[in-house]
């Protein structure tokens, strides 16, 4: 028997605690990635070549750095949320499921921070 009143259960967050938040953040990052993704694809396609000097010069422009930072952080979060759902759907053993989601969180965080650091290092590095 649960001591939670029906009203509290409805006002609360459901069984897992964060489904609404997950849903909303997933949509928020999805909407953000529409322009960010298009920008990334188009600006990569517009590069005359992928030589080191060309790419560094592109990446060092402040607007590129800012949009790249927005992109990698949003991609990282969106990817984490998506992978989490896939793990929850297919990994049923509770211990393994928690470990997999933890591993995914660590991996995504490490990757996003590494990418962020790289972008900053290029941005503040010597002008190529």
């Amino acid at each position: 028997m649960s001591l939670v009143t029906p009203l509290n259960r409805v006002l609360g967050l459901g069984t897992a605690g964060g489904a609404g938040e997950h849903w909303w953040t997933q949509r928020l990052t999805a909407v953000a990635l529409v322009p960010l993704g298009l920008w990334l694809a188009i600006s990569l396609a517009l590069l005359p070549d992928f030589a080191y000097a060309t790419v560094v010069q592109w990446a060092q422009r402040p607007i590129t750095s800012i949009l790249l930072i927005l992109s990698v952080l949003t991609i990282g979060y969106h990817s984490y949320l998506g992978v989490q759902v896939v793990i929850e759907d297919y990994v049923h053993a509770k211990g393994l499921k928690v470990l997999a989601i933890m591993g995914s969180a660590f991996g995504h965080a490490a990757l996003a921070i590494a990418a962020l650091f790289a972008i900053l290092k290029i941005a503040f590095g010597p002008v190529a």
Partner: protein, 126 residues
């Protein structure tokens, strides 16, 4: 719960496969593959930040024939997931759920993804 093998009601095996089911599965698969693509993007940025010799190594790897196939596949995943993602966002508003509408939008997504992949691959990969 665990160790108890409960009967499942039939689901994917009893339906005739149609475009909505294909695209729904493809959305998840392309999403997962794009997570790996994000890894490749992060490696590319890290190499760029590490200097010209590290960048040259990664560039050589990414320009190899096998990797180009991978890049084209990621490009398709990207444009498909983007276009189909917008389709999902439109559905979130409650619109586009008529049979004719979601079939048409499904085909539109496929055509858009294939064309965008061809253009991007021709310009940026080959």
């Amino acid at each position: 719960m665990h160790g108890v093998s409960r009967p499942l009601s039939p689901y994917i095996t009893v339906y005739r496969w149609q475009i909505t089911m294909w695209l729904s599965s493809l959305h998840r698969i392309t999403g997962l593959l794009l997570s790996l693509g994000a890894l490749a993007l992060a490696i590319w940025l890290a190499a760029l930040a590490s200097g010209s010799s590290a960048y040259a190594e990664v560039r050589e790897l990414y320009a190899s024939a096998g990797f180009k196939v991978l890049l084209v596949a990621w490009t398709f995943c990207f444009f498909f997931h983007l276009a189909n993602g917008v389709r999902h966002l439109v559905w979130d508003t409650g619109a586009g759920f008529e049979k004719a509408q979601f079939r048409a939008s499904g085909w539109a997504v496929i055509v858009l993804a294939v064309v965008a992949t061809a253009v991007f691959s021709a310009v940026a990969i080959f």
